[in-house]
Amino acid sequence: MVQQLEERLYFEAVVQAERSMFATDARLTADNLQQFAPPAERATQAATALQSMDFRVRHVGTFSISGDCPRELWESVFGTRVERRTQPFSTAHSEVGEVGYWSHVADAPFTIPDNLQGLVDRAYPQAPPLFFQSPLPPRVNYHHLRVPDDVALVLRATPVHERGVTGRGVLVAMPDTGFYRHPFYPWHGYNYNATLSPDAIDVDTDDFGHGTAEAANIFAVARDIDFVGVKMGGNATLAFKTASDLEPAVMTNSWGYDLAGLTTLPNFLLPLEAAVLEAVNQRGIVVCFSAGNGHIAFPAMMPDVLAVGGVFAYENLVGNDFRLEASNYASSFDSLIYPGRHVPDVCGLVGMQPGGIYIELPVQPSCFIDVALSGPGFPNSDETAPDDGWAVISGTSAASPQAAGVCALLKQAQPGLSPRLVKNILRASAREVTIGTSNNGQPAGPGHDAATGAGLMDAFAAYRLGRSVAIRNIFSLPPPR
């Protein structure tokens, strides 16, 4: 379906300058741009000349003039030919339709007429832009979850939202690869912000795509949080400290280090351990870490953090819950470095092997993740386009921000909850998962189990439990007799 057929031709006419930007040795940069600028009055002279020829001038810029005209006028003035073309309005939504435009015919002549000589260097019909990204994800034909609604539904956050608890007033910080300004975030009205770790650059880009994607999981569970993403440079510990310095109520971290086989913590990780201990025990921040995807993950293995593993929810109900199975993509393990420490504490939603393709998340268009998983062939690819700004992924990278969202709901309901109490509430309210095995081969089963810890988080049960917790000041207890 062609949504629009533009009868008029839209153009850019480049004003003649002493040095042409079309010269073979020309390469525009921020430093040399002014070398290609025409003399001050020439743009106005060119625009006047174009208007006298019945072109409609829309804008007179430093380097070019924007305008439009009937196709016939363009062809007669410049002695050329154009042809009609169409392209999708959005690569993400072909169902929206196509837009038509005029384009130069290859090998057709093009001549600047005498009355524009010295005023106009070249002129080009303009094609409409492709809208690579959309706040709506593309449709894919396999079982998956969409943000925010499906993730909120399965984690039972929806009834919490209906009771007015949405994470309002709670600051959540997340160190990660970057936080691109994807339209998904403003279209949903989310307070999504980004800052740089002191050794990072380009606050608005996320060339890998991970941070932009996984942040959506937090908002799915707690839509009204105040969010700040801290873009990492080369030092993850510095990024963690930068986030911690903002004194958020909750931090989520979808990364770590694989310490398989080690019985002591490598020295280079001691600073990160110290920073985590400071955040939890001195600043009272609830710190969530992904359990890993087969990794023996640090800092998830630290007893002070909330370690979040993975559970897969099928489409169908069994009894009064979805059919739940331990994700064979997510880690579970007993730490050799922290005696008695089992990972995970609780679980979020994670896909299954081979690729864990499960939750449709926004990414910077054409970033690494957008490209790497694109194309046909589920379950090895996500069947989205490589430049549409959406990817279907998960991993425990998704689970930790989901947990952070649940923590944010609890912190709105009861701001005084300590990190330890938040963890205890989540563990006490989780849903049992009795089937499946983790990536490390540990089994799920009745009660708390090796694969899933206490099980899949239940935001509503956690809220109902947490809202009634009475936090006692030990100094108000009666003195001993």
């Binding site: 690869t177 080369g234 510990t237 280090y257 020295n267 110290a274 995807n293 993509y329 864990g356 998960s394």
Partner: protein, 105 residues
């Protein structure tokens, strides 16, 4: 273009500010002072100051994603020496490696 390397420096008790100042005077850039001091500097400066050579390595940002490798300079710390002017203030120097990100691929 210089190869910049990051490290976390553990200061002696109550000497964090002194250590940070001394590191800056040696040409390092102090990015954060907390339980440890986040420091960044050219690889050559680390080598000349602390006797630490480097070797280029790569690491996957996501284990499951081919092509997600990131390059970094790994420190060889077997011969690391804290120079005399820092010995009262600096307990340890710990060079950082890039983390892995736990998403699917």
């Amino acid at each position: 273009m210089q190869d910049l390397v990051s490290a976390e420096v553990a200061p002696a008790s109550n000497r964090a500010i002194d250590a940070a100042r001394a590191l800056e005077q040696l040409g390092f850039r102090v990015l954060h002072i907390g339980p440890t001091i986040s420091v960044r500097g050219p690889a050559a400066l680390w080598t000349s100051t602390f006797n630490v050579p480097f070797e280029r390595r790569t690491k996957r940002r996501a284990r499951e994603m081919e092509g997600s490798e990131v390059a970094y300079l790994a420190a060889r710390t077997e011969q690391l020496q804290i120079p005399a002017e820092l010995q009262d203030m600096v307990m340890a120097v710990m060079f950082q490696e890039p983390p892995e990100f736990f998403s699917t691929g």
